[in-house]
């Protein structure tokens, strides 16, 4: 291979960074300028700054309701998916039984399943159960996708822990559950945190189910609420972009904060130990 010139790497990184960061910057900038300026000749720096869009987002659009909904739904999904998923993953990581490989691929397949194909049947089921436009009506469908994902990720983490630790615990007098609780869980905190964040992101960003299974603004989540901002005759770009910023910033900060762990988490288990 030809040798890379020293200047190539920084330039390539710079281009990539610009490509990734520019839309974010443009969103932030556009959410901070008056509506009129949005349609004038574009300029890189804002000519005038206003918080009008944010004000109307919370005062007129009552944007804190979808935020609350998203927090509840994503939080509950994360809680249950990680709770159930960690137990499943532990069993799959440690126990020997016939068909384990098949089961694992099946679990992965479920989390890859195209969501759109089960929207209609799920809608009918949820309607029968009276769960349309409720929190459980979103949390349950989310769990069907999120749990397999958490199981898959956590199996990787648990497999990395030396089995001798649990064996020592079992000989010391701890049962399976006890050694899971006392030994495995405390040692898996990084893995579990990573899994929880990824699950939370999945539920926070989810759109199709949230759109299909909610009816009014009372139970709509953030992505749905933003999508429904557009009226029949006009698109309130300023408010949409302000909503996007509000929905993205906390999540982006969360990921930035944990990014080291997430990267380690996603690649761990990829290499056979």
């Amino acid at each position: 291979m030809k040798k890379l010139h020293a200047w190539m790497a920084p330039v390539a990184v710079g281009l990539l960074l610009a490509a990734a960061a520019f839309p974010l910057y443009w969103t932030l900038k556009s959410s901070l300028v008056p509506e009129a300026e949005l349609f004038r000749d574009p300029s890189f720096l804002p000519r005038q700054i206003t918080l009008d869009h944010y004000r109307s987002l919370f005062e007129v659009r009552r944007f804190w309701i979808p935020i609350r909904n998203s927090l509840v739904v994503a939080g509950a999904t994360t809680f249950f998916a990680v709770g159930v998923g960690s137990l499943c993953a532990y069993a799959l990581a440690r126990m020997r039984f016939r068909g384990k490989g098949v089961l694992l691929s099946f679990i992965l397949a479920i989390s890859m399943f195209p969501q759109i194909s089960i929207v209609s049947p799920l809608y009918l089921v949820l309607r029968e159960l009276g769960l349309i436009n409720t929190y459980p009506g979103l949390i349950l469908p989310y769990l069907t996708f999120a749990t397999p994902l958490t199981v898959w990720l956590l199996v990787g983490f648990f497999r990395q822990l030396p089995p001798h630790l649990e064996e020592a615990a079992r000989i010391d007098g701890a049962g399976r559950m006890r050694s899971f609780w006392e030994i495995i869980l405390p040692l898996s905190v990084p893995g579990i945190a990573t899994t929880a964040i990824l699950t939370f992101l999945y539920a926070w960003n989810e759109f199709i189910f949230a759109l299909s299974f909610t009816v009014g603004p009372e139970r709509q989540t953030v992505p749905v609420a933003i999508a429904l901002f557009r009226g029949r005759y006009q698109v309130p770009w300023g408010e949409i972009l302000a909503g996007v910023v509000v929905a993205t910033l906390p999540v982006a900060l969360l990921v930035l904060f944990f990014q080291g762990r997430i990267v380690r988490g996603l690649t761990s288990g990829a290499v056979k130990g």
Binding site: P162, H164, L165, E167, A168, A169, R170, I171, D172, G173, A174, G175, R178, E182, I183, P186, L187
Partner: protein, 380 residues
């Protein structure tokens, strides 16, 4: 304390991965039993099956005559020390030691009292509030031992507990372990691949090979009367010299290889057929030409010698020399084989030089014979 018993125990991981093959063995109360064998001999599995970490595929496990084959590890009241120590990395030394007691529901002040007593015994009292990552290898090993001791279990299972220590520390820890066993009078099951460790520690030593016990006996018995060729070769350092010999019956009984000619006569073992494995330990081989000089002396030495050869390599070992000899082939073969090699341990004086001629004799009373087919010991 406890008597442990394996009864026709099998452990197969798959059709050709057999870790235990019909093992029956009883370990007496207070006995120090060592399992020794090369890697792949299944020795760790012997402990894991006793501990309940692996379920046997056949046979039963008894502890004090109680059938505990299907019991959970926690219900067996055994303690185990792992090769990699397996200390709980997120717990302090104190919590590591206390864990087993807490699991068994012991009251806090009693736990504290016991942990501190054991910590004093093992000289780790100053480390109680540290995490395992802050300890040296030797300290970790002590904590691992302490975690087993503090429980006062029915028996101790130790899986190569010294193999991660550096050599100087290992010898020290070995002595400590022997002393500990004597003072506790507890049953110890100890796994190692190091035959010297096995010999020095064990009341009895079981030599394992491919999931079977080749021989179980006291260390001295193993050394003096190995039951199979494998045991003969595995026990003792340097390894026993082994030769596959033809049995020639003309004017008495003689064993022959390309390089050896050994007149046995009445010293021959009973039941000899056409071939036999001959074993002789490097320590037992005698040099017959050391003091002789001149043509006459050399001729006399030649008539006494069972083999002659050239010194290939001298390895000084401080108290003695390990001398590797290439024997002269008596037939016209040109290709060198293992049958031409001989290891001898000689005193450091007189000096032996590489390339020197040497004549040796095998004392008949110290020879070992093994059946050429099943490789079991044949007696005189």
């Amino acid at each position: 304390m406890a008597r442990l018993r394996y009864e026709r125990v099998d452990k197969r991981f798959s059709a050709d991965a057999v870790a235990m093959d019909g093992v029956s063995l009883e370990i007496e109360d207070g006995e120090f039993m060592v399992f020794v064998g090369p890697s792949g001999s299944g020795k760790s599995t012997f402990l894991r099956v006793m501990a309940g970490l692996d379920a046997p595929t056949g046979g039963r496990i008894f502890i004090d005559d109680e059938d505990l084959t299907d019991a959970e590890p926690k219900d067996r009241d055994l303690a185990m020390v792992f090769q990699a120590y397996a200390l709980y990395p997120h717990k302090t030394v104190r919590d590591n030691l206390e864990f087993g007691l807490r699991m068994r529901g012991m009251a806090a002040d009693e736990r504290r009292e016991r942990v501190e007593r054991i910590a004093r015994t093992l000289d780790i009292g100053g480390l109680l509030d540290r995490k395992p990552a802050q300890l040296s290898g030797g300290q970790r090993q002590r904590v691992a031992l302490g975690r087993a001791l503090v429980r006062e279990p029915r028996a101790f299972l130790l899986d190569e507990p010294l193999s991660n220590l550096d050599p100087a520390l290992r010898l020290h820890a070995r002595t400590e372990l022997a002393r500990l066993h004597r003072s506790l009078e507890a049953t110890f099951l100890y796994v190692t691949h190091d035959q010297e460790e096995a010999m020095t520690l064990g009341d009895r030593v079981a030599v394992l090979r491919k999931g079977r016990i080749e021989q179980v006996a006291s260390p001295m018995e193993l050394y003096r009367r190995p039951a199979t060729r494998f045991v003969g070769e595995f026990i003792g350092s340097p390894s026993m010299n082994l030769y596959r010999c033809r049995v020639v019956r003309e004017r008495g009984v003689r064993l022959e290889t390309a390089a050896l000619r050994l007149q046995l006569d009445e010293a021959a073992p009973s039941g000899l057929e056409d071939e036999v494995w001959l074993g002789v330990r490097p320590h037992d081989v005698e040099r017959v030409d050391a003091e002789t000089s001149g043509e006459e002396g050399r001729a006399r030495a030649g008539s006494e010698a069972d083999a002659e050869g050239t010194v290939d390599l001298v390895e000084p070992r401080g108290s003695d020399l390990l001398v590797r000899v290439r024997l002269d082939a008596k037939s016209d073969r040109t290709q060198e084989t293992d049958g031409d090699r001989l290891a001898i341990v000689l005193p450091p004086e007189p000096r032996v030089e590489e390339g020197e001629r040497i004549a040796v004799r095998f004392p008949r009373s110290r020879l070992h014979y093994f059946d050429p087919n099943d490789e079991t010991r044949m007696d005189q």
